[in-house]
Amino acid sequence: MIVQALAFYMFATVAIAAGVMVISARNPVHSVFFLIAAFFNAAGLFVLLGAEFLAMILVIVYVGAVAVLFLFVVMMLDINFVELRQGFLQYLPIGGLIGVILLVELLFIFASWTVAPDAGAVAAAPMSALGEISNTRMFGRLLYTKYIYYFQAAGLVLLVAMIGAIVLTLRTRKGVRRQKVPDQLRRTRAESVEIKKVETGKGI
């Protein structure tokens, strides 16, 4: 148990520290790297919870694909930090005030925290069979039966996002010669090669 506890505190501390660094790092590329560190530690926390499938998916999807695209974009952008800092200092009092108010509100709420009587039962319900089968299988069973509506709806949302990205950005430019693979494959020797007998000293 000690090892688990140590691992938990390590992952949790590093995740929070990385999260802080994401917003305070001077260089946005470094911010993305810290974001990746935060993802990794979140994955570590998932492993500790016994949700190894989620942990791996988090790494594959967020670190392996999403963060790469972030990095891609951030590296290409030329961001002027001095200007950003100026704005930051200017709005610091207001932002800080809002932050403090929200924090006080949260403390106020959590001071009066009472967990609803049903909460425990609800939280425990889907986990009942977890001991017997791997959590990947359990995910599948729940996702494709009980939560099929959410699953499909989320799929539709992503489909719309994809359509939107294509609609708003795809342009067919004129005057660009595109490679047409079928045309290339259809070419035969007869129509592309011609053998000529060239007489010496005459040229074609």
Partner: protein, 482 residues
């Protein structure tokens, strides 16, 4: 194994049909290209019509699907019918426009269909998660449609502004929803209602509810969260604006009503104050802010904010009568808004869209029929007795008075007097100002049909009162029984 009862799809048949046929149309578009936009648009209208039939096919009773996260009752059916009618009008109105403006791409009707699907999912949501997913499906489609004229700065600005603020409001809604979940231990509306009826209400839940209300108020564009409306309405292509003013508003309002009445009905003492405030603020701000507008789309934006204020009176009353009034108001609002936007779409001169209020000058002389129809819509938007708009306001105010909310009713009446000023100004400009440019004619067969249809409905509203009242009462009672 788990049982397969979760897959009782029957109640969700219209949604399933709409989703599948939309994807079929998408494939059709992808393989046939942008040249077939007109055909796909008509297919889209057909699909919406068939969905409407499927919705009407199974009237009466309350049914649930997917394990209580999807609900179909009389209220949902009524609202779905309104949404489907509004969407069909919007698609039909777009036909000529997108071709003339050279933005006729096949994704346009497809995105309308997806947005409509999202709205139907919102209306039928019976769980905070299905609520959010429906909302996101709808919003995401709308963000894209708003920016559909991607070569126009104003359209892209509208899309971006809508996206950023919409994402913020979705964030607030989610934050609130997660708080509600944290304190109530469930996201299902039925169980939430059961938990709340049982007694003690934690403070955190109220705070969560406030965030949820803020998110929903953004979606219906009620006052403290209305800032996006004028810019988006002005920047988006006009038929898209018409769509925004109609279908999403119905869906968001339906969602608002269901969330407030169904799961949080027991907390009416807590949320009534907020709704009253939002309602008054919307009515008053819209009435005064609209006076200075010169762009008719911006004017319609403020007008829609005002109308949301009136509808919220019905919700604030929190009674069955109030909700029934809200439903009637919403129905009338759909028809008069569609009609008004059809008129705005006909405002084009030498192939160019006009949007200034001054451009209407002398319409009474240059195009008397259109001026007459637009006048009828303006009377209706104001709420002057013989036309439909009056009855909407009448039922709402009656409900407010019966619920003993006299201040609200009085402020509502006063703000409609102020609003009358800018609606009547349009009438005055049309009939008493020197004629400006003539509008292009003919306006197209579809437009004529829409104008005549909505115009007749608005002017000769009497025969519709009884059936509408009956339907609205049935719909409202289904909320309070269940």
């Amino acid at each position: 194994m788990l049982s397969w009862d979760f897959l009782a799809l029957q109640p969700a048949l219209p949604e399933v049909f709409l989703a599948l046929s939309t994807m079929v149309l998408l494939m059709l578009g992808v393989f046939r290209g942008d040249g077939h936009t007109r055909i796909i648009s008509w297919f889209a209208v057909l699909v919406l019509g068939l969905t409407l039939l499927l919705v009407l096919d199974d009237l009466g009773g309350t049914k649930r699907a997917f394990g209580d996260i999807f609900i179909v009752d009389a209220f949902a059916q009524f609202m779905k019918v309104l949404v489907l009618i509004g969407s069909s009008f919007a698609v039909v109105m777009s036909l000529g426009y997108i071709e003339r403006e050279k933005i006729a791409r096949f994704e346009y009707p497809i995105l309308f269909l997806f947005a409509t699907l999202g709205m139907m999912m919102m209306i039928s949501a019976n769980d905070l998660i299905s609520l959010y997913l429906g909302l996101e499906l709808q919003s995401l489609s709308l963000y894209v449609i708003a920016a559909f004229r991607r070569d126009s700065t104003r359209s892209t600005e509208a899309g971006l502004k809508y996206f950023v603020l919409g994402a913020l409001s979705s964030g607030m809604l989610l934050y609130g929803a997660s708080m509600v979940y944290g304190f109530a231990g469930t996201t299902g509306f039925d169980r939430l209602a059961a938990v709340l009826d049982a007694g003690a209400v934690p403070v955190g839940l109220i705070v969560g509810l406030v965030f949820v209300i803020a998110g929903l108020a953004f979606k219906v564009a009620a006052v403290p969260f209305h800032m996006w409306t004028p810019d988006v309405y002005e920047g988006a292509p006009t038929p898209v604006t018409a769509f925004f003013a109609v279908a999403p508003k119905v869906a968001a309002m339906a969602l608002f009503v269901r969330v407030m009445i169904d799961p949080f009905g027991a907390l009416i003492g807590q949320w009534q104050q907020i709704i009253v405030f939002i309602s008054i603020a919307s009515m008053v701000l819209a009435a005064f802010a609209a006076i200075n507008q010169t762009n008719i789309k911006r004017l319609m934006a403020y007008s829609s904010i005002g109308h949301v204020g009136y509808m919220l009176i019905g919700l604030a009353a929190g009674t069955q009568e109030g909700i029934s009034g809200l439903i009637i108001y919403l129905t009338i609002y759909v028809f008069m808004t569609v009609g008004t936007f059809a008129c705005i779409l006909c405002m084009r001169s030498h192939g160019r869209m006009l949007e200034g209020i001054d451009d209407l000058a002398g319409l009474g002389k240059t195009n008397p029929p259109m001026a007459a129809v637009l006048t009828a819509f303006m009377f209706s938007l104001t709420g002057i007795p013989p036309v439909a708009g009056f009855f909407g306001k009448f039922f709402i105010f009656r409900a407010a008075i019966n619920a003993e909310m006299y201040t609200l009713a009085v402020i509502g009446v006063l703000s409609s007097v102020v609003a009358a000023f800018y609606y009547m100004r349009i009438v005055k400009i049309m009939y008493f100002d020197e004629p400006a440019e003539r509008f292009d004619r003919p306006i197209g067969r579809e437009m004529t049909l829409i104008l005549v249809g909505t115009g007749l409905f608005i002017v000769f509203f009497f025969p519709f009162i009884a059936p509408l009242l009956e339907g609205a009462d049935a719909a409202a009672s289904s909320l309070f029984v269940g």
